[in-house]
């Protein structure tokens, strides 16, 4: 989920961290104790936690040297991150229809079967449009950089962001989105393998 890109950045940067995972069942009790009813949360030296996965990712990037300080390079990194956030945002309604249909203008008590039908239609549309479109942007960016990484010649948090997305796509967790969508993109596929071959990442991904 939203925490994975930050975990990858910690691992890639070789920075020790406590990877606390909460059970779904424990969340309702914990939620009101969090600053904004959200996770992931980052706590530094036991201090009050901060939220927002993008903020946490950037923080880890700064302390792990995975987020360039040069304004132009950082701009490239932020652009890739922003694109991926747009990609993930496009999936939003297909989750909302199941959990909170009234936020999309449907009846709050919409029957489960109707929700599933609409979700399937939404995911089919995403599979045809957004998925190849965004994966195509990533492919083009890799072609432009030419180094095998999204920005510059070594991994940055932009690579962590996209890697996390590719992993969820391939896992089938987004029902209705083809797990093989990235296969059509050679540079992106090579990127995926390259990142997974990095020892710290390989270890992290195999230990779950």
């Amino acid at each position: 989920g939203a925490a994975e890109k930050a975990r990858l950045a910690f691992k890639l940067g070789g920075i020790e961290f406590e990877d606390e995972r909460i059970e779904f069942s424990a969340w309702p009790e914990l939620k009101p104790k969090t600053p904004y009813g959200q996770m992931p949360l980052l706590s530094i030296d036991g201090k009050a936690p901060l939220a927002q996965s993008g903020a946490i990712l950037r923080y880890v990037g700064r302390i792990a040297n995975l987020y360039p300080t040069d304004a132009e390079k950082a701009l490239e990194v932020d652009e890739v991150i922003g694109l991926d956030e747009d990609f993930m945002r496009s999936l939003g309604p297909s989750f909302a229809i199941m959990r909170n249909p009234h936020t999309l203008g449907h009846a709050a008590d919409m029957p489960e079967d109707d929700r599933k039908e609409i979700m399937a239609k939404m995911r089919a549309a995403l599979a045809k449009d957004e998925v190849p479109r965004f994966l195509g942007y990533y492919e083009a960016k890799l072609a432009k950089t030419g180094t095998g990484y999204f920005v510059g010649d070594k991994p940055t948090i932009a690579d962590c962001q996209v890697l996390a997305t590719l992993r969820i796509l391939k896992s089938g967790a987004f029902e209705g989105l083809p797990t093989t969508a990235a296969d059509a993109f050679p540079l992106l596929s090579a990127f995926y393998e390259r990142m997974l071959a990095i020892p710290a990442i390989k270890e992290h991904c195999s230990s779950k």
Binding site: A51, G54, R58, A74, L75, D78, D86, G105, H106
Partner: protein, 219 residues
């Protein structure tokens, strides 16, 4: 370098960037285009999106968050210190979450099928649905998120969100508040801001910055 920001002629996602340029005192061309100009420009942009930032005549980048941070770095409004930046990024992220919750109430108007409705429900129905969604936002999401910022401002005591001078987080918050204050979001009244003392004071404080006041022409 010559900077040009290209966007539509409204606030939207570009406003926080315009404010960062203004407050940071960095010259830029505030290019505003209409729909037909957009259709012509779109294929020339990196990802079919605006705002885009051009530097010395060349389109460099899209993604408003990326541009906002870039301008923040140039203008000294985005600290290098990791923990200070974390606070700012958290605030920016929260505002993005707020706008994400508001998004469907726009989509219902121009692309209801993306929300699982039949294509082209009649205008009356769309307006009614939008009104209901906006009412829900006014009752729930908007006060919840604004409440976080009300609390933050009470805590920082400096009058700004992070530290004792405006940062890009303040640009982002002000732009959001202005949308509500100027009744730019139909169905969400300006009272959502006016009812919050810290936010109301923050709004005036930013508005009083000479560059901001000049930008809005005293409006």
């Amino acid at each position: 370098p010559r900077y040009k920001l290209t966007y539509f002629n409204f606030a939207g996602m570009a406003e926080r960037i315009r404010l960062a340029f203004k407050i940071g005192g960095i010259e830029f061309e505030d290019e505003r285009i209409d729909h037909s100009a957009w259709l012509e420009l779109k294929p020339k942009t990196p990802h079919g999106q605006i705002p885009v930032l051009s530097v010395d005549g060349k389109i460099q980048v899209a993604q408003s968050g990326a541009i906002l941070r870039y301008v923040g770095r140039l203008a000294n409004m985005y600290p290098i210190d990791a923990e200070k930046a974390l606070e700012i990024d958290e605030a920016i992220g929260l505002l993005e979450d707020l706008w994400r919750s508001i998004d469907p109430s726009f989509t219902i108007e121009d692309a209801p099928q993306k929300l699982g409705h039949d294509t082209d429900p009649p205008e009356q129905e769309r307006i009614a649905l939008q009104a209901r969604m906006r009412a829900n936002l006014t009752a729930n999401d908007v006060p919840r998120f604004l409440g976080y910022f009300e609390a933050k401002l009470a805590k920082t005591e400096t009058g700004f969100l992070c530290g004792d001078a405006p940062t890009i987080a303040d640009c982002d918050l002000f732009a959001t508040l202005r949308t509500f204050k100027c009744d730019l979001l139909e169905g969400v009244p300006s009272s959502v801001v006016d009812s919050q003392p810290q936010l109301a004071a923050f709004y005036s404080r930013i508005m009083d910055i000479p560059a901001v006041r000049a930008y809005y022409g005293g409006k």
